[in-house]
Subunit: 327 residues, 3 copies
Amino acid sequence: MIRATTGKIEMPHFTLAQLAEKLGADFHGDPNLIITGVASLARANAQQVAFFENPKLISELEKTKAGVILTSAQLSQHSKKACLIVGRPRLAFITVLNLFHPQKMRSNIHPTVVIGENCQIDPSVSIAANVVIGDNVVIAANSIIYPNVTIYNNVKIGARVILHSGVVLGADGFGYERDATNQWLKVPQIGGVEIGDDVEIGANTTIDGGALDPTVIGKGVKIDNLVMIGHNVQIGDHSLIAGCSGIAGSTHLGKYCIVGGSAMIADHLKITDNVILAGAAMVGRSVDTPGVYYSFSELLPPAQMKRLTVRFNQLDEMAKRIKALEK
Amino acid sequence: MIRATTGKIEMPHFTLAQLAEKLGADFHGDPNLIITGVASLARANAQQVAFFENPKLISELEKTKAGVILTSAQLSQHSKKACLIVGRPRLAFITVLNLFHPQKMRSNIHPTVVIGENCQIDPSVSIAANVVIGDNVVIAANSIIYPNVTIYNNVKIGARVILHSGVVLGADGFGYERDATNQWLKVPQIGGVEIGDDVEIGANTTIDGGALDPTVIGKGVKIDNLVMIGHNVQIGDHSLIAGCSGIAGSTHLGKYCIVGGSAMIADHLKITDNVILAGAAMVGRSVDTPGVYYSFSELLPPAQMKRLTVRFNQLDEMAKRIKALEK
Amino acid sequence: MIRATTGKIEMPHFTLAQLAEKLGADFHGDPNLIITGVASLARANAQQVAFFENPKLISELEKTKAGVILTSAQLSQHSKKACLIVGRPRLAFITVLNLFHPQKMRSNIHPTVVIGENCQIDPSVSIAANVVIGDNVVIAANSIIYPNVTIYNNVKIGARVILHSGVVLGADGFGYERDATNQWLKVPQIGGVEIGDDVEIGANTTIDGGALDPTVIGKGVKIDNLVMIGHNVQIGDHSLIAGCSGIAGSTHLGKYCIVGGSAMIADHLKITDNVILAGAAMVGRSVDTPGVYYSFSELLPPAQMKRLTVRFNQLDEMAKRIKALEK
């Protein structure tokens, strides 16, 4: 057994006044109250901050044992507890979380990491256990690579990128040609992958290397778990892709798009900027108008779905019968 | 190359009488017949037990070379071979399989395993090669972790849990907020994961850690391969989730549910107990009535599907024309 | 940190005449021109070959800085550059790619690899870092296994097979029986996996071991990333399966089939030879006629999809009203 090279984690703590200062927040309550952590309304104790923004959770607010409530001026009227009062509680809560939970599992380059030839890895990069990196890989400052990630040859990764466990970057794109005997001949894939700054990629997601030119993930893009990005896909800056989605080869997704979970986007399409694809959307055509798009996803008991499926198959005939009636 | 620390596997063997006693079964045939293994009707040899329960396979029964047939009293009439006769052949067959194939790849803690700080791992737990475990992880008795699993910080695993290769537990949930410049700000995810007793999780499945409170998998839950469980999901005891499914953040799935393969359940929903979602179900609403639910999944040749898709788009107009005709 | 055991990669180079000879191609231009690599029209430099086959890209051809164009006799008329002229440019381009980019990341058996008992691995096989292999595994000549692959017990792999990172072969199939107390009892899975010659399997794909008989992947089959193949599935020779697809237990897929991305095929079905399933196809029935099949995948703005969904639910009633009008 190999010990992780992380040191002991010491949890920080702050007084209410210190927290208020760090957040630029107003506060009610004892400025010397010691706060040791963050939790939900349901689980927080008297030394913890909880977050209240959703008026539907007011019954939880009434029962909470939290020592301090982080909320807006308006909502703070519902609580007699110590409060931290800010304009955008959700953003302030992210700041509080980062104060109490600085990024973990850093081990710089763990002794089990395997790295190939001709790589440029910034000294500030953290690479966890059992990560394998091929040749000609570049990783910029402050990126974090979790255990069991694999990076193939010719992958370029920006700054502050986070790769979760099981991610595979730069595996061969799915490219074959039929040969004279009707068998599949592999098209070598040499394009590699380029990942912009501030990208986060979820566990077990795969991004294939391009055929000739690279597969490109724009800056600030966030990709969830078990997503498949095909070769030569290009994803515009600041787009968000939820889990179990797939984007097939050579498709271009615009900037500031949101792709819902389990969505499937076919190959060689162009999706313009600011498109939102609902969960389970099946995208078989390009989308050139920003907006929200859904696929059909009715959920019904079997007898009902069976009957409506029969009717769906009669739709053409029904249309003709309506036409006949009109004559 | 590192040798696995498993010892040589010696296959057990039993006489027919010994097997019958272990199963509480009646039997026909030579009580001293030596049985060395288990196989299908099609592949079994004269020293092996085969299983017969499905009357449709009677032609396979007639041709089998199996030495012994495990079956019910009624179906045993179809065979002149040695038989083991039980009330529930399928359950008895599981017992026979376990006798001949005790759980493999156990290596206690393989020397390549990496474990963080402050973990409590029961001495009976088996952890295979290249598993990486973070800080504050608890694993109860007799759990088995296959190679290349990653467990992040703050994960609590019950007894007799099986984690297959490539599983990632406790990676950061997919939580972001837009900041003032319209970029995505990461919400730290500190809730961890809690896995009940007797859970099995398939290869390359990912279960994200909760935002504040933990993601919870109830006891006896079985999850197949390549399933994505989002942050703060709760899955009730004894539910079954087939491969390639996704359950998005904060959704609660009840007890004794069955989720078919490639199903997608959106976020923040409640699915009550005893719900069966068919394969490829797209679940965009809560389900409060037990029962079976399907999404539309007709499969047709392209010309036919194209024509019906045109008609689907005319449905609103068709309805209005029917109304006009009725007037 | 462990160094990869790959040696330095030296890029080969050729003269135009040498390349022409290797391809059996005609050529225009200086036979002594030194060519050092391959790139796309958009990115190639004066020492590189680019490929031109799609007349739509003629504007890229006009602007390219490539030294040599690989194309057909007819299309070569559009370029005044040095040309390599062949009957099937795409196949010739694969040859050129293989000349300049011989298969990489070979390290024979990396020192971090873990191998179980009773395995037969051909000395020509390349196994990269952190691969874990169980007992009774056979791997034939010239197969390549990328980092972080896991192979369970009883897996047989043919010659020239490529397994990409994160692949899991032979994990337990998803088989359970309810016991007397309504809990799920695991059915041991002992059938293993058999992979034919010339198969390629994409990153993070999982192929489960069979219950009693093996799961079988035919020769020449190509499987993309994040695909789930259930226990006892059989896939016919030379079929192609795109990313994020799932094939559930005991289904047989024929030869020369193509399965589109994110397709889902339910269990215990038979899909005959030469079937093409479109992307996102949901296959809930056997298919006994070769041809192309689609599921319904219309993509619409939310208001429109909502209105048509209401109408879909009225289809049975609409059909009855048409019938009433006809009377």
